[in-house]
Symmetry: C2
Subunit: 115 residues, 2 copies
DNA sequence: GACATCACTAACCATGAGGTTAATTATTAA
DNA sequence: TTAATAATTAACCTCATGGTTAGTGATGTC
């Protein structure tokens, strides 16, 4: 029930991996491109990518132009599952305390529009 | 920018803490009640609660009937912020999926930076 | 074919996080 | 006021995780 959410949260637990997700949020990127974005070594980034891959947060494929290069792309399903889990937790909460429901929704909406 | 999301994800990274959140999803609970729900020691649970407290996911207050007991309650703001972050990531993905599916391999697409 | 390049795995090391038991604080009960 | 209870902090141990450098496999380039 929570197992893929579990893997997703574990994957997003690390700040470097969160940053990778944010980079991939803009567009797919080559592994080397991601390595260049951090001050850590290439193998370190590579292992973060493996965690993200195995948790299903990203996909990987070789580039058409140069098969040595690997393109990483964000995959929405797992993030959607996490979102659903969050909605569930929040909805239970709002059911419990109906008076605050409006406030919670309002807060959420504000945060979205802020960025 | 991501800092509270950061703390929230770190807090939810641990399976025990996720389970605590799910228990609190139903109703506020006493610390001892939460301890009883796990096979680990009371201090271990206590520290998980501290992490959740510091990340803002839960609040704590003494019980009215017995001030030794502490009531833990879920707080929606941080989870809402995390939800907003997820929405943001996903919306970027869906906006740009079509365009990049076609050209990502051949073209180095230049992006408008929204930050 | 020889060599460079991209990204990965392998092997190793250090730190942090989660677990334990023992001690501490605050409150209630006798 | 003394003892018991609820929960926490303190001190300690172990192991998972993230970092490193070195080596490997595959692909592109000369």
């Amino acid at each position: 029930m929570v197992s893929d959410v579990d893997a997703t949260l574990t994957a997003l637990a690390d700040p470097t991996r969160r940053r990778i997700v944010e980079l991939l949020r803009e567009r797919p990127r080559r592994a080397g491109e991601l390595v260049a974005a951090f001050d850590i070594s290439a193998p370190a980034v590579s292992r973060h990518l493996r965690v993200l891959r195995h948790s299903g947060v990203v996909t990987e494929r070789p580039a058409d132009t140069d098969a040595r290069q690997r393109i990483y792309e964000l995959r929405p399903d797992r993030l959607a599952a996490l979102g659903a889990w969050l909605d569930q937790v929040q909805s239970f909460w709002t059911d419990q305390l109906g008076a605050f429901k409006a406030h919670a929704e309002k807060t959420r909406a504000e945060r979205v529009s802020e960025e």
